[in-house]
C-alpha cells in the first residue's frame, strides 16, 4: 500500500543521508546533543535550583564572575551559575518548539487538506483565513496578545502557532490538490469509501512526508523566533530559565558581564543550526526537485 511505501522512502532517505551527507551527520549530532542536554540537564547541572532561578546563599561573593573552572559559563548578576541556567533552558526550549511545530502542523494539515478536498466555498474561506494569518508576523501578534492576555507560556504559544500554521496550510493545500486529482483517490470516492477514510489514508498520508521534513527544519526557525519574542519580554515570564529570557536579563549587563547573554545565544544558534541542517539534508535526499519550490519552502 502507498503508506508503507512512504515510510520506506523516508527511512531510506534517512539512511542515504546518513551515509552520504556530512550536513546530515552534523545536524543529527547537534540535534541529539541538545536533546540529550534537555533530558539529562536537570540531572547533570551543578546547581539545579539556581538553574530554575533561585539565588544562592553565597550570592554576595559570587556575582558577576567570568567563566572559570568552577563556573564554566560564569555567574550572573545575582550570583547564579549560568551553566545550570542554560542546561535548564534546553528542556524549556525543546518543549516550546515541539509544541509549536506539532500544533501548527496539525492545524495546517487539517486546514490545507480540507480546503483541497472540498473545494468550493470551503476552499475560498479557508484560503482567505490562511492569507490573513500569513500576513501577521509572530512578534506583532505577541505584542497584542501580551497586552490582552499578559505574560506567560500561553502568549508565546498562541502567537507562534497562529503565525506558523498558515505555512503548513498552504503547503498542504498545494500538495493535497495534486493528490486529490489522482485516479485512485477518485476511484475510492466513487466506490463509496467514506470521506474520512479517503482523507486520512490517501490524501493525508501522501503529503505527510515532505511536510514533515519541513517541520524538522522549522524546529530551528521557531526557536529563533521564540527566543526573539522572549528576549523582548513579550512571551515567557522573566523568571523562567528560557534562553531568550536569560539573554534579556544579561542585556543590562552586557558591558560588564557579557557571558550572561552570549552563552544562551550560542546555544540557540547551535540548536537552530542542528535542526536546520538535519531538515535540509533530508529534504535533499527525498526529492532534489523540492528545493526549487522556494515559494513554499523557506
Amino acid at each position: 500500500m502507498s503508506e508503507v511505501k512512504e515510510v520506506l522512502e523516508l527511512s531510506h532517505a534517512v539512511r542515504r543521508a546518513w551515509i552520504r551527507s556530512t550536513r546530515f551527520k552534523v545536524g543529527a549530532a547537534l540535534s541529539s546533543f541538545v536533546l540529550l542536554l534537555a533530558i539529562l540537564g536537570p540531572l547533570v547541572a551543578p546547581y539545579p535550583s539556581e538553574g530554575m532561578g533561585a539565588v544562592p546563599p553565597t550570592a554576595a561573593e559570587r556575582t558577576g564572575r567570568p567563566p572559570s573552572f568552577e563556573f564554566p559559563m560564569g555567574t550572573d548578576n545575582l550570583g547564579r551559575d549560568v551553566l545550570s541556567r542554560v542546561l535548564m533552558g534546553a528542556r524549556l526550549a525543546l518543549i516550546q518548539i515541539t509544541t509549536v511545530v506539532a500544533a501548527s502542523l496539525a492545524i495546517g494539515l487539517v486546514v490545507g487538506v480540507l480546503a483541497a478536498y472540498y473545494r468550493g466555498p470551503i476552499e475560498v474561506a479557508l484560503n482567505y483565513l490562511t492569507e490573513v494569518f500569513l500576513a501577521l508576523p509572530a512578534i506583532v501578534m505577541a505584542l497584542a496578545l501580551r497586552l490582552a492576555l499578559g505574560q506567560g507560556f500561553h502568549t508565546l504559544l498562541f502567537s507562534l502557532i497562529l503565525s506558523w500554521w498558515p505555512w503548513y496550510a498552504r503547503a498542504s493545500f498545494v500538495y493535497a490538490r495534486s493528490v486529490v486529482e489522482m485516479d485512485y483517490v477518485l476511484l475510492a470516492r466513487l466506490a463509496g469509501v467514506p470521506d474520512r477514510v479517503v482523507l486520512l489514508r490517501h490524501v493525508l498520508w501522501n503529503i505527510l512526508q515532505p511536510v514533515l521534513v519541513q517541520a524538522i527544519t522549522d524546529l530551528g526557525s521557531v526557536l529563533l523566533e521564540a527566543s526573539a519574542i522572549n528576549f523582548l519580554g513579550l512571551g515567557l515570564k522573566p523568571d523562567e530559565p528560557d534562553w531568550g529570557i536569560i539573554a534579556q536579563n544579561g542585556f543590562k549587563y552586557i558591558t560588564s558581564m557579557p557571558w550572561i547573554s552570549l552563552f544562551p545565544g550560542l546555544f540557540i544558534l547551535l540548536t537552530a543550526l542542528g535542526f536546520s541542517l538535519l531538515g535540509d539534508a533530508l529534504r535533499e535526499e527525498l526529492d532534489p526537485r523540492l528545493r526549487r519550490r522556494w515559494k513554499l519552502w523557506f
Binding site: 532561578g53 554576595a60 556575582t63 545575582l78 522573566p238 543590562k252 560588564s256
Partner: protein, 540 residues
C-alpha cells in the same frame, strides 16, 4: 566651439553654486554650533508640570522652572531664602510675616509680588481641599494670606506650624504668575482647565530656565531665562543655554548615551557599569537621597494578617546581601521607615537576617509550609527585580513560596489601592518607593495613616497610630521636640508589628561627562532628581 562655451557655462554655474552654498549654508551652520547644551537623562516619564498639583515625576522640570519661597538645606536642617528674602513670626507662631524679593520677574515678564504668592498658596491649598489632589496639605494650617503691600505678606495660621519648612516643600509650594489664568482663559484658579493648560507644556514660572519644548514621554527642552534675578549672585557665565531633559526609560540607553556623548548627565545607568564609566574618565557623584523603598504587608489578607508570619518574612530578608547583590553597593540598609539623615531617623529600628528566628516565627504563626504569597513590584526598576529574586530564594528556604508579579507603575498603584476595596485581590507584599514633600517625619509615617487610601497599601488601620501622627503634626510648630518624640513612638509601633519595613535608602550615582561640571550643591537630597542647572558649568 559651442561645446566649449557650454562647458565653461556649466563650470561657472557649479562654482557659483558652491560659493553661494559656502556662504549661505555652510558658514552659518558652523557659527550656530556655539550654543551650550546639556542633556540630562531621566528615567521616568514626566507625569505633569502643574506647579500646584504635580506630586510625582514632574519634579526635575518644575524644580528648575519654578521657585519656592525658601529652600531646605539638609546640612543645617534649616531653610535659605529664595523668593522670600526674610520672615518673622509672632510669639505664638500663628502670624508669619514674609518680605519678598524685589526685582524678580516671571518668564513672560510679569512682575513677582504678593499677589502671585497669595494666588499660588491659595490655589495649592484649595485644590487639595476640594479635589484631594496635589500636596496642598502643607498649607492646611493657613487661614488667611493677607497682602500688606507689594512685597510684604502676612500669613495667619489656625495653629502654629513650621511654615518655613512647609514653604520649602518640593511639591505644591511653587509660585506662579497670575497671568496664567488669563492665558488659560479661566476665571477661577480652581478651574480644571488651568491644569490642562499647564500640562500642555505652558509655564508661568520665575526660575532660571523656561520651557521651550514639552513632550512628557520623550523630552523636555529648557532654555536659559536671561532675566532671572539670580544670575549675578551665582556668577556662572558657563551655565548651559539649553537643557534637554531626555526621558530614557532603559538604563542601558543612558549608559550608551554617555559613551556616545549624547547624554552629559545620567541619573540611572546600570549600577554594574558605574565602575566602567569611572575608568573611562566620567565623574561619578554618589548622592544619598531621601528616597527609600518600603516593603508593605497586606494586613487584611491571610497569611500576612498574622503578625508572627510577617515577622517571619521580615527576618528572612537578607539586609546586607541586599545592598551588595541587588544594589551593587549603591544603597544603605534601611532602618525603621525613615531614611538616613532625615528628621526622625532612628537607627535602632533594625531587623536582623536570621533564618532560624524566621522559622520559629513561621511555626508560631501556624501558617503551613508551601503557602504561596503574591509579591507585586515595579518591574522596570532593576533593584526591585533583583531584590524580588533574592527574597523569593530566601523565603523558599523556610518553606514559603513567592509568586513574583512585576508590573508597570500604574498597575502597581492600582494593585496596592485595591486593599481597601477587596483585600483578597491586593497582593500580600508590595514595594512602594517613596520620597518626602517636606522635611518632616510625617511624610513617611503618614503612609500608614488610615485615611490615606491612596498610598496606604498595607490597609493599616490603627486609631492609636493615627492619633499620634495627627497630634505630632499639629505640635511641630509649637513644641518640635515633643512632636519628634511622638513620631518616634509611632514609628516603633509599626516596627514592632512589622507592618512595613524600609528595605534600603537610595544612593544614586550621577554620572557626568567630562565636558560638564556638576558641583555638589547643584544636587539636594530633598529636591530629588532636581539639578540646579544655574550652577552647572559647560566646558568646550
Amino acid at each position: 566651439m559651442r561645446r566649449g562655451v557650454l562647458l565653461a557655462g556649466i563650470v561657472a554655474a557649479v562654482v557659483a553654486a558652491a560659493v553661494l552654498a559656502y556662504f549661505f549654508v555652510y558658514l552659518p551652520s558652523q557659527q550656530r554650533g556655539k550654543i551650550k547644551v546639556v542633556v540630562y537623562a531621566y528615567l521616568d516619564r514626566i507625569t505633569g508640570i502643574d506647579p500646584s498639583i504635580e506630586d510625582d515625576t514632574g519634579i526635575p522640570v518644575i524644580g528648575v522652572v519654578y521657585e519656592t519661597l525658601v529652600r531646605y538645606d539638609p546640612a543645617t536642617g534649616d531653610v535659605v531664602p529664595v523668593l522670600a528674602e526674610s520672615w518673622e513670626h509672632s510669639e505664638d507662631g500663628t502670624l508669619w510675616t514674609l518680605r519678598l524679593r524685589r526685582g524678580v520677574v516671571f518668564h513672560d515678564g510679569t512682575p513677582f509680588n504678593s499677589t502671585a504668592v497669595k494666588l499660588s498658596i491659595e490655589r495649592a491649598k484649595g485644590i487639595y481641599e476640594k479635589f484631594g489632589r496635589g500636596s496642598g496639605y502643607i498649607w492646611s494650617s493657613v487661614e488667611e494670606v493677607e497682602i500688606v503691600d507689594e512685597y510684604t505678606v502676612n500669613i495667619r495660621l489656625s495653629y502654629p506650624t513650621r511654615l518655613d519648612l512647609m514653604a520649602a516643600a518640593i511639591y505644591s509650594a511653587y509660585i506662579f504668575s497670575p497671568s496664567a489664568l488669563a492665558k488659560a482663559g479661566v476665571d477661577s484658579p480652581l478651574d480644571p482647565e488651568l491644569e490642562s493648560w499647564f500640562n500642555q507644556g505652558n509655564d508661568a514660572g520665575s526660575g532660571p530656565y523656561y520651557i521651550e519644548y514639552y513632550s512628557p514621554e520623550s523630552e523636555v527642552r529648557l532654555r536659559k531665562f536671561e532675566k532671572w534675578w539670580g544670575w549675578s549672585l551665582v556668577n556662572n557665565p558657563d551655565a548651559p543655554d539649553v537643557v534637554v531633559i531626555k526621558i530614557m526609560t532603559d538604563p542601558l540607553s543612558q549608559y550608551n548615551g554617555l559613551l556616545a556623548e549624547e547624554v552629559h548627565i545620567a541619573s540611572s545607568v546600570p549600577r554594574a557599569n558605574v565602575g566602567d564609566l569611572a575608568s573611562r574618565g566620567f565623574k561619578v557623584l554618589n548622592v544619598t537621597l531621601f528616597h527609600n523603598y518600603l516593603l508593605l504587608f497586606n494586613i487584611r489578607r491571610y497569611p500576612t494578617n498574622i503578625t508572627s508570619f510577617r515577622l517571619a518574612v521580615i527576618h528572612a530578608i537578607p539586609w546586607e546581601e541586599l545592598v551588595q547583590v541587588a544594589l551593587r553597593g549603591f544603597g544603605r540598609v534601611g532602618k525603621g521607615l525613615i531614611p538616613h539623615g532625615f528628621p526622625g531617623y532612628d537607627e535602632r529600628l533594625a531587623y536582623k537576617y536570621d533564618l532560624t528566628l524566621a522559622r520559629e516565627y513561621l511555626q508560631e504563626s501556624g501558617v503551613p509550609k508551601g503557602t504561596t504569597i503574591e509579591f507585586v513590584y515595579q518591574g522596570e526598576y532593576e533593584e526591585n527585580e533583583a531584590f524580588a529574586q533574592l527574597l523569593k530564594s530566601r523565603l523558599a528556604e523556610i518553606g514559603i513560596t513567592v509568586e513574583l508579579k512585576p508590573l508597570p507603575w500604574i498597575a502597581v498603584k492600582d494593585a496596592g489601592k485595591a486593599v481597601w476595596e477587596d483585600a483578597d485581590r491586593a497582593p500580600h507584599l508590595i514595594i512602594s518607593d517613596w520620597w518626602p514633600t517636606i522635611p518632616s517625619p510625617y511624610e513617611f509615617l503618614a503612609l500608614l495613616h488610615s485615611t490615606n487610601t491612596e498610598w496606604n497599601w498595607a490597609g493599616y488601620n490603627n486609631a492609636e497610630f493615627d492619633e499620634l501622627l495627627d497630634k505630632a503634626y499639629e505640635l511641630e510648630g509649637e513644641d518640635y521636640e515633643l512632636a519628634l518624640q511622638l513620631y518616634a513612638r509611632a514609628q516603633k509601633m509599626v516596627f514592632d508589628e512589622g507592618v512595613a519595613v524600609n528595605l534600603w535608602d537610595e544612593v544614586r550615582p550621577f554620572v557626568v561627562s567630562s565636558r560638564v561640571d556638576l558641583p555638589e550643591d547643584a544636587l539636594n537630597p530633598l529636591y530629588i532628581y532636581v539639578i540646579r542647572f544655574e550652577l552647572v558649568k559647560v566646558r568646550d
